[in-house]
Amino acid sequence: MRFRHIFSETGAGLRQNLTMTLAVIMTMWVSLSLFGAGLLANQQVDLMKGRWYDKIEISIFLCTADVSGDNCDPGTDATDAQKQVIQQTLLSNPEVAADGVYFETKQMAYDEFQRAYAGSPIRDSLTVDQMQESFRVKLKNPEEYQGVVTSVQGLRGVQKVQDLRQYLDPFFKALNFVQWGTIVASALLLIAAALQIGNTIRLAAFARRREIGIMRLVGASNLYITLPFLFEAVFSALVGAALACATLGAGVYFVVMQKAEPAIRSIPWIGWSQTGLAMLGVALVGLVLAVIPTLVTTRKYLRV
């Protein structure tokens, strides 16, 4: 196999099809950038979910003499026997994390209340005895809270079950929507890019149909005939992917690191490791997008 000749054929093909090559590179650039942005958004959302889910727990508030509930005996606190049943129920639930059950006494709740409202007149409005005892439960998988909630909801002595997730859910729904939105949009663009590559190769094969006809006639191997087209497509894809990687890097640096991170410090932000991962994904997808349509097209048009 003489690669010099193959490379000269590749170069000739790229020059002949300069405008199409540029069109492919630009389409690849934009679609791969969007795809990479989707990957970055995905990782950003995962980071935020991880951080917040870590803090999410289910709170099971118990009855006191002052509060009323369907499972409360009016005028009395939850009894020790009732607490025992609730604790056993929680501990035996497979969704509950190991050491995930924690009991907050009236005194602890009061201390927390004092700390939260330090310096406020409300601080003195409650006594220790008015505070509610509660079980705080951490879950193995924060998404699977429903089973634990229903298992304790009906037990005697449980005044209220509060799950923080219900407040965060709409927010995460919005984030998920953004995640999937970018992925669907970039998938459409990537399909367009793949089709465009297929068409470009078809045009290139047509432009070189005389050469291809002669190559087949004198017995050039299929690989030899296909390689220049494959190299052409791979070249366009790699240039497009390199531009997309540069775009992602610049975006992360200027938008996330320079602007967003200093402005909002309370949430974790993606860094270079996540960006590198996204770039790797972009390069791989770019390569696959170039190779597969080329092989499909050449199989169809360069058949011996």
């Binding site: 003489r2 000749h5 087949r216 004198v218 017995g219 050039a220 030899y224």
Partner: protein
């Protein structure tokens, strides 16, 4: 060298057979004319030898190999044994004479040193020495066909197939091309030439295979174009 055993070919979507139970045996070093009206099956006959088409029934052997059983990835190697020349020359217009001939060697992976040595030799053989730097458009029709023959012969194939090689040339030029094909044949290359040119066939007095409606109606050694 080439053997057809009861070969039939029917193209998809056509009821009439392009070739119908053809039996032909061509030995090494023979010069054979393939004659017949347009649509008689000459082109199909040549395409089957090149494995551009497969026989619907029967067997085609080239250089001892059954083309029906040849794996598609082995077709290129098989085609290197066959040189092909066409009526319309099929040269690459943006390449010089030398580059056109060298192209046939480059694409089958021959080393540059071999190409440098072999191409001038074959250009001399076909009578084009000194014209290697010209573009096809700067050559006459006869010269262009010589380039095409040089390209077909440069890899020293065992078989040379010529499909109406004189179809676009005047009689005087055609004689020159026939002399060249005869020289190549004398170098022990099997030459199979499809033609309509009765003068040439009558003058050469070689074996003639006549096809009519896909059937071999005549196979005559030292024959002429039509019946005498």
């Amino acid at each position: 060298m080439i053997r057809f055993e009861s070969v039939s070919k029917t193209y998809d979507g056509q009821r009439r057979a392009a070739l119908d139970r053809v039996n032909v045996d061509i030995d090494k070093g023979e010069f054979v004319f393939l004659v017949g009206a347009s649509g008689s099956g000459k082109s199909t006959f040549l395409r089957l030898i090149l494995r551009e088409q497969r026989a619907t029934r029967g067997k085609v052997f080239v250089a001892g190999r059954d083309l029906g059983k040849l794996h598609s990835w082995k077709i290129p190697a098989m085609r290197r044994q066959i040189g092909t020349v066409f009526q319309d020359f099929r040269l690459l217009p943006n390449k010089t004479v030398t580059e056109n001939v060298a192209f046939a060697l480059q694409v089958i992976g021959k080393p540059p040193s071999t190409i440098k040595r072999v191409v001038p030799e074959v250009l001399e053989l076909v009578g084009l020495d000194g014209k290697g730097g010209r573009l096809p458009e700067e050559l006459s029709g006869g010269e262009q066909q010589r380039v095409a023959i040089a390209r077909a012969f440069v890899n020293r194939p065992m078989i040379l197939i010529a499909d109406e090689p004189t179809g676009n040339l005047d009689p005087a030029t055609s004689i020159g091309i026939m002399k060249l094909l005869d020289r190549i044949n004398r170098a022990n290359t099997t030459v199979l030439m499809a033609t309509h040119d009765s003068t040439i066939v009558d003058q050469m007095r070689k074996r003639v295979i006549e096809l009519d409606d896909g059937e071999v109606v005549r196979d005559q050694s030292r024959g002429v174009y039509g019946y005498q």
